[in-house]
Structure formats: C-alpha cells, structure tokens
Subunit: 70 residues, 2 copies
C-alpha cells in the first residue's frame, strides 16, 4: 500500500526535504511529498481497505492506494 498525505494537508517531511535538497546542491526540485510504503502478504486482499482505514493510514489526513504485486 502507498500512503500519501492528502492534497492540501501540511506535509512537514516533504517541506523539510524540499528545503534540504538545494542546500546539498540539488536544484530544480519541486512538489516534494513524503508518505509511507507498506508491503505485506495477506490471505484475503479484500481486508486491505479496512486495514488501511483502521490502522495503516489516518483517513483524516492521508489517502491510501492498494497495489497488487505484478
């Protein structure tokens, strides 16, 4: 699952990275957003949305995306 800060919600980690990169000499960086990557094996993939809602993401401030392995 990919967990991202919702659009319009303050993303302090993203801001920190966006400010730190130019100081290290990396220019031209914009729109930095930091979220979480959660990988797991589960018997029943139908449970995943509820897992995200109840534990893995904070639905008030985060969106989640469920990706099946290729």
């Amino acid at each position: 699952m990919l967990i991202r800060p919702k659009a319009g919600i303050l993303d302090p980690q993203g801001l920190a990275v966006e400010r730190a990169l130019p100081a290290l000499g990396f220019g031209g960086v914009r729109e930095v957003h930091v979220g979480r990557l959660i990988e797991l094996e589960v018997a029943d993939v139908a449970q995943l949305p509820q897992m995200c809602e109840q534990l893995l993401a904070n639905p008030l401030i985060e969106d989640y995306e469920i990706i099946a392995p290729a």
Copy 2:
C-alpha cells in the same frame, strides 16, 4: 522513490503492524515491511540516485527504488 528497509535489517514498524493487525481481527498477515514513499518533481532525474544516497535514504539500512511516473 520507494525506500525500503534492507532485507535482514530489523524493521520495528513492520513488526508493530504485524502484531497489531491480528489484535484488530485481521488474520493471515505475514511479511509486513514499512518503508517510505517520496514523490517529487525534479529537473534532472540523473540526480535522483545521489539524492537518495545523501539525504532521502540511509544506505546502511535501506534500499531505494526510483520509479518514473507512468
């Protein structure tokens, strides 16, 4: 970029999730790993590996994967 704990390195967030899910009634969950998702716009994608090495990932304990937008 996707940042993952290296195989064999302790992943306390993954362990915490793996223990919490059964307590919430979600069974059959294994191999939970928690990493980071970093999304950004950059002028020169050739800079990305060095950004990961120097700031975004800890190369001692994490691997990174760079994914171009579809």
